[in-house]
């Protein structure tokens, strides 16, 4: 693919799906990016029109289209609200792949997606070397959320307040975990996700505690790596397939009934994107990947729908908790009531709804890296809603959202703490 005409022909494979857009503009109402900039090229209708024009050779600047395509959180709010049901995320993912293939992938991304992430031993080694060093450059932000910041690295990290890396990540604590099934009991494969493994280890420990409490055996193999969504979002299918291959290798041979993750984004990726791209591994493992996708389940959904965890009567002194609907949980997986039940399962907490609970927090994974200013602006609206709810804690079912919530709350010097829903439930179990 070296000429614009060839690029256009590749993009024409999206034509049928793009034509479904009736240009009604209803995506403007829900798009967090449009909410922040008010620019038509930032909303799905505008982006679809740009891809269409590139495909029809009306526009001859693929770099400009790539830039616009990158200004998107891939939160799926537009798709969930789209009257004619355009498969917007599918189109955006494929367009990113085609356009980025034409333009070439950034060498740093190439290194991360194709070398580091498909080889968890390398990735883990790099992060373990890095973790003890963080004390040298990061200092505590002095906030209620316990984040750190790195003023000397402002040129690189911006003014981010982030959760510190764990001294000992989960994979180093547990190695290859393969608990025996209790008689007649359930067994799950647990997919902590990169952030659950290396950063929010308390969240992961809480999940493991809850599973133990309910007598569920856990299979957590050593070779698990990134679910692949960052690579896919950057249009790097090669990188994503490398990571998928590594995960397939790790999961194969395990005996389990469900594949659980505490991360809404990982679960959505396993369920939706793994089976869609599996045939491109060329290894004939589509059947296994499809089985993994069918088994994949958000941990909140598992607790409520399978283990039948129910809400408790809140105590008189129950602390109010507000819940943020992660986009991948609610809009991709349809998981909205279960995390709320999980919060209420602990009588020490009571749920207080915030306004626009299902509006995107603005993290968007790597979107946050490249568009931090917009990410912060979108996050501020979420922060305002969190604070207005009067809750002491904001819970979420996705560590990426938790990072974003901590960052915006910390910057506003708010006392609201950020927790994963399962952490709250785990507190009630002994």
């Amino acid at each position: 693919m070296t000429t614009l005409h060839e690029l256009a022909q590749r993009l024409m494979t999206l034509d049928d799906r793009i034509t479904d857009c009736m240009k009604c503009g209803m995506c403007q109402a829900v798009c967090p990016m449009y909410g922040a900039t008010g620019m038509e090229a930032d909303v799905a209708r505008g982006k679809l029109a740009l891809i269409d024009n590139l495909a029809h050779e009306m526009l001859k600047n693929p770099a400009a289209v790539a830039d616009k395509l990158g200004r998107c959180l891939l939160c799926g709010s537009c798709q969930a609200a789209c009257p004619p049901g355009v498969k917007i995320l599918e189109v955006f993912m494929e367009a990113r792949e085609i356009v980025n293939e034409f333009l070439g992938l950034h060498p740093v991304k190439k290194m991360i997606f194709r070398t580091l992430l498909p080889h968890p031993e390398l990735f883990n080694f790099a992060m373990r070397v890095g973790a003890p060093m963080q004390g040298l450059v990061f200092r505590k932000s002095g906030d209620a959320q316990g984040t750190v910041c790195a003023p000397f690295l402002n040129f690189m990290l911006g003014d981010r307040h982030i959760h510190p890396l764990a001294k000992t990540p989960i994979h180093a604590r547990y190695g290859a975990l393969d608990e025996p099934r209790r008689a007649g009991g359930l067994k799950v494969a647990f997919f902590p996700g990169c952030v659950g493994d290396k950063m929010y280890t308390d969240m992961t420990e809480a999940c493991l505690k809850v599973l133990r409490h309910h007598g569920v055996a856990v299979f957590m193999p050593a070779g698990l790596t990134c679910c692949g969504i960052p690579a896919l979002s950057s249009g790097d299918v090669t990188g994503m397939l490398g990571q998928l291959q590594a995960n397939v290798r790790a999961l194969k041979g395990g005996d389990f009934d469900y594949l659980l993750s505490p991360c809404g984004s990982c679960t959505a990726t396993i369920k939706e994107y793994w089976p869609r791209y599996a045939h491109r591994m060329g290894t004939g493992e589509e059947g296994f990947v499809k089985k993994m996708a069918d088994m994949a389940m958000d941990i909140n959904a598992f607790l409520v729908d399978v283990l039948k965890v129910t809400a408790a009567q809140p105590r008189a002194d129950a602390v109010s908790v507000t819940y943020h609907d992660s986009c991948h949980l609610k809009k991709s997986l349809g998981v909205a009531s279960q995390p709320r039940t999980v919060i209420n399962a602990n009588p020490a907490y009571k749920l207080t709804e915030m306004a626009e609970a299902d509006r995107c927090c603005g993290c968007g994974g790597s979107f946050n890296l490249f568009h931090y200013d917009h990410s912060r602006k979108i996050g501020q609206r979420k922060r305002d809603n969190v604070v207005a709810s009067g809750a002491k804690i904001v819970a979420a079912g996705c560590p990426a959202c938790m990072m974003q919530l901590e960052d915006v709350l910390s910057h506003n010097n708010d006392a609201v703490r950020v927790k994963h829903t399962v952490e709250l439930y785990a507190e009630s179990l002994n």
């Binding site: 034509t19 240009k23 009604c24 503009g25 008010g38 029109a49 004619p84 049901g85």
Partner: protein, 461 residues
């Protein structure tokens, strides 16, 4: 693209973040919701104050540059598509403040780019009601609603946007500020220029502020769904309801094609054999709502409704309306292109119009579903096609030509609420008269001597 000097001037005036000159950005303002060819503007500007807005218009007028005003770009008749390649698009979305909601005097003052649904929610929070609810209300702007005289589901009882405009301040083609109307119920100071701006589709001036009427909200409401074998019976029921002196706040209609498609999609168990469904809601004081609902039920039964469903609670009521909410999305999913029309006839002519639409669709071998606002005769025949199929799309165009002929013969109108724009300008004279066109053009030329404001829209200039 606009000259560098002009871009620089606007950047100085508005800030770089409010001047969009790249090809990709300009391209995203080349279309609206109408099924029409795009036209890329030379520049897009977004003033954020009234002063900036008038300075922008003046600069463009002084330089003889054509302009198209745009809110959220949800227009269904092409009114916000630029006229030519040297057109500059003026966005009103940067002027989006609600300036006042006066609960004592029942009015609100707004900037042009306030989103309709957000405004309605803010008004509701203050315990009042802004009734106009066009289908695009979640994203449409109030000035866009005014410039198109947008309708919605509540037209029969509450009227449309024009019924809520008390005053308008606008920038004329030369950049001068014009004020008309006031915060008072009565105001006869000068020409009713606010009335002239309503429905002017961006051809006479750029709205910079509006005073909108608010009303007390109804205290209660009650809904029901009635099923009919025949469209004629549904129309008789509509006439009967009006004759019984009940004005429902919504009186919606779905034809058989729409019912079947919605049922296919939602599996809601709708009556697939029905000729038509009416969805009716009455609102007001609880005692009157009870009386009205009883009267409506009686009329429905007298007019051969085969079933009348009355929801028991809010949840059931929500489900009842699902069929209507799903109508357009479901029809839109059937085929790639959705041509949503809004031919409107006197309500007694609904059966004749529905029959004509179906006959025309059969003649041109087209898929059509019709739903709409039975209470005010405003139907939405929705043609389902693929605009990439040139033969099919030309049949759609012929079918629409014929449909408008029927609407006019039935003493109806081309457009109940979507506007004329460029999509329907060729039929204007047929519905009105040669004199109407000439008068409108003379009016435009007098107010916009250089012919810069949305020049190809409505009657042209």
């Amino acid at each position: 693209m606009a000259s560098q000097a002009l871009i620089k001037d606007f950047e100085e005036l508005l800030g770089k973040e409010n001047v969009f000159s790249s090809e990709a950005d300009r391209m995203s303002y080349s279309y609206d919701s109408a099924v029409l060819p795009p036209v890329m503007p030379s520049l897009v500007i977004r003033p954020t104050t009234r002063e900036q807005l008038s300075a922008c218009v003046k600069k463009l007028y002084d330089n003889g540059i054509p302009m198209t005003v745009r809110g959220s770009g949800t227009n269904l008749s092409g009114g916000t598509i630029p006229d030519k390649s040297d057109t500059v698009v003026i966005l009103t979305t940067g002027l989006n403040r609600i300036l006042e909601i006066n609960t004592n005097d029942l009015y609100a003052v707004v900037e042009p780019g306030v989103i309709t649904a957000q405004f309605a929610a803010a008004v509701e929070k203050k315990g009042l009601f802004y009734p106009p609810d066009p289908g695009s209300q979640a994203v449409s702007t109030l000035a866009g609603n005014i410039a198109e005289n947008a309708g919605g589901l509540r037209g029969l009882k509450y009227g449309v946007t024009k019924d809520y405009v008390m005053g308008i301040e606008f920038i004329d083609a030369t950049g001068a500020t014009v004020k008309s109307g006031s915060r008072t119920v009565k105001c006869v100071t000068g020409y009713n220029l606010a009335g002239l701006i309503v429905q002017s589709e961006g051809t006479l001036g750029v709205i910079s502020e509006a005073v909108l009427k608010l009303v007390p909200p109804p205290k209660a409401s009650k809904a029901c769904m009635a099923v009919f074998d025949d469209v004629q019976h549904a129309a008789d029921a509509v006439a009967g309801i009006i004759a019984a002196h009940v004005l429902p706040c919504t009186l919606e209609f779905l034809d058989n094609n729409t019912i079947v498609r919605v049922d296919d999609y939602t599996k809601a168990g709708l009556p697939r054999e029905a000729g038509a469904i009416l969805l009716i809601e009455v609102d007001g004081h609880p005692a009157q709502v009870a009386d009205d609902a009883a009267a409506v039920e009686k009329v429905l039964k007298e007019n051969k409704a085969t079933a009348v469903h009355i929801p028991k609670d809010a949840e059931e009521k929500f489900k009842l309306w699902e069929a209507r909410r799903a109508a357009l999305p479901v029809l839109a999913r059937c085929r790639p292109t959705t041509v949503l029309e809004d031919a409107t006839v006197p309500r007694s002519q609904i059966p004749a119009m529905v029959k004509a639409v179906n006959d025309i669709a059969a003649k041109y071998r087209l898929d059509v579903g019709t739903f709409g606002h039975a209470g005010d005769g405003n139907l939405h025949p929705t043609f389902l096609c693929d605009k990439r199929d040139k033969d099919e799309f030309s049949r759609v165009e012929e079918a629409i030509d014929e449909m408008f002929d029927v609407a006019i013969k039935l003493k109806g109108t081309l457009s109940g609420e979507h506007g004329i724009g460029t999509a329907k300008s060729k039929w204007m004279e047929k519905e009105t008269s040669r004199g109407t066109i000439l008068f409108s053009q003379r009016l435009r030329r007098a107010l916009d001597p250089k012919g810069l404001l949305n020049s190809t829209k409505l009657v042209g200039i």
